[in-house]
Symmetry: C2
């Protein structure tokens, strides 16, 4: 495996590069939440980042390293926050973006990526169909592929969220992010261990999509047959670079159940007045289950995004969750 | 009428006094919201203030001017955010708080005030019963009465929210707050006209509880028979000092309907990822209706609070609102 891995200095360089272009999101606390878990918890609010998710950091870090004159077009396949973030970042940089999206993606997601100015190319569902369509498009027009997570520039960019959190609140015992493809956790773990070597880093994953947890325990990447979870951002498998950094920089991976994720979303709304998407609620659910740190310790959580289809959220559409 | 009116300097003094004790809440923007209204709107997020509302500013400004050795106890009658804020501020200052609450108040509100450390004295519903119970309690024990809004210290404290907003974003054309008893609008109007003399200040009120609007137009305080609105924080009547400052410092008062208020709550959740209470959504609804400023102008809104009973919110419990 020769994939180049980013290092702590890449995260620091990314922070300097993207600083003027991203929202320095606030760090929030809630006395009510602290009382629930018997420890002090701070939340880095990437749900209010441009595009509604941390993904804008990595996308911006990537496009800012491209010369629009030589590389006028970027391309990716993502129906979620990365597609939207790359479209917004490309537009801000005066570049074109092409986003390959499965035909069965939700209308609001497609509409958001269109509004962000990207050209959309539809494909059949499933990773092989996505990659086939990608090759077809690239055969006709040159474009820089920007992978959603298995890319050193993306990882370094995502890590700037943790760099900002720990610069503002350095005295944390444990920090946590959710794990999907692993762009966020890989970058944030680099940042955390680089800034505060003694800090503990605990990843959080849905039990219904625990490929990273299984891979972490096994010491090798494992893919599940059918990951399924309400946390739609975490259904993918952890990438090669991401897994390497998970093994070297993360201390533990914990899992939570689906009803815990929904309950955590509601508690964040109630205690912090913040809307977070199910993927973000996964690390919060781990905290509520007592799986992050010990009583009296200080915990930091990255709230990764806030893009929720209000009509599809169980408690927002009125089902009772507990 | 000899009630002492606060002046701009009182707001500045309040900011210095309470600065170390309150949350300097973030100012947020949303490109999606701007696109809806064709103008740039910034939001001062008092929904994440301590206690979940701007009320903590006025309460803290008041208790910090009392000597706990001479005045160990404060008292008020409020089942809402002011009662909670005064309880929290008194506790932070090492003082006792007594809060008189109508028996029919909601359980969550009573529980919150109890958690904040106040002693609760129940009374029958209605202002006369509240004032009777207040007199009874005061006959037995001395305490400093802290009115929810018709008090110069409270007004000056609430104004610090606008002082912070305009210090951070001075180039606004129009600013707005909701109007209940008028503590927020009176203090914020003092702050706005003191800092940026040419700025326009537009108050926002539910059409179902438009006593301030009617009073503003008539030039004298008018009380409605039965104010009724989902914006529970705005059902009271504007106070004496508050009306005097409304007349002298506010340029216009606009009203919005109940369904507009609920729709605005949902839009704030969607665009800003923030939970605001119906009272806060009133000024947002005015913006959405094109009643704040003109296209291309820059608008500032104070999101006054985020204390929502999730089970009682129409769209949160699943009813469709539009």
């Amino acid at each position: 495996m020769t994939a180049s891995l980013p290092v702590f200095a890449d995260v620091v360089a990314a922070a300097a590069r993207i600083g003027p272009h991203v929202v320095r999101t606030p760090v929030m606390r809630s006395a009510a939440f602290d009382a629930r878990v018997g420890r002090e918890v701070v939340f880095k609010c990437e749900n209010i980042q441009t595009g509604g998710a941390f993904k804008y950091r990595g996308a911006m870090n990537t496009v800012l390293q491209l010369d629009p004159a030589r590389t006028p077009t970027v391309i990716t396949h993502s129906s979620g926050n990365h597609g939207n973030a790359l479209a917004l970042a490309a537009r801000a940089r005066g570049m074109r973006a092409i986003v390959i999206i499965p035909r069965d993606s939700s209308r609001p997601k497609i509409a958001a990526i269109e509004r962000a100015g990207a050209r959309i190319e539809f494909c059949d569902p499933g990773l092989p169909a996505r990659e086939k369509r990608l090759a077809e498009v690239l055969a006709h027009e040159p474009a820089e592929l920007v992978h959603p997570f298995d890319d050193a520039r993306i990882i370094a960019g995502q890590g700037t969220a943790m760099l900002e959190l720990l610069t503002e609140v350095p005295a944390l015992d444990v920090v946590s992010t959710p794990i999907g493809g692993g762009g966020l956790i890989a970058g944030c773990a680099l940042a955390a261990k680089g800034l505060v070597p003694g800090i503990r880093f605990v990843g959080a994953e849905p039990a219904m999509a625990d490929d990273a947890c299984q891979s972490f325990r096994a010491g090798e990447r494992r893919q599940l047959r059918t990951p399924d979870t309400i946390a739609d951002g975490l259904r993918g498998f952890i990438g090669v670079r991401n897994f390497a950094l998970l093994r070297s920089h993360v201390d533990d991976v914990v899992t939570v159940g689906e009803s815990e994720i929904v309950a955590a979303m509601r508690i964040v709304l109630e205690d912090l007045k913040l809307l977070v998407e199910p993927s973000s609620a996964v690390a919060v659910a781990a905290a509520l289950a007592g799986k992050l740190g010990a009583p009296g310790e200080r915990v930091g959580i990255v709230l990764s995004g806030g893009n929720v289809d209000l009509d599809a959220c169980p408690f927002l559409r009125g089902e009772r969750t507990s």
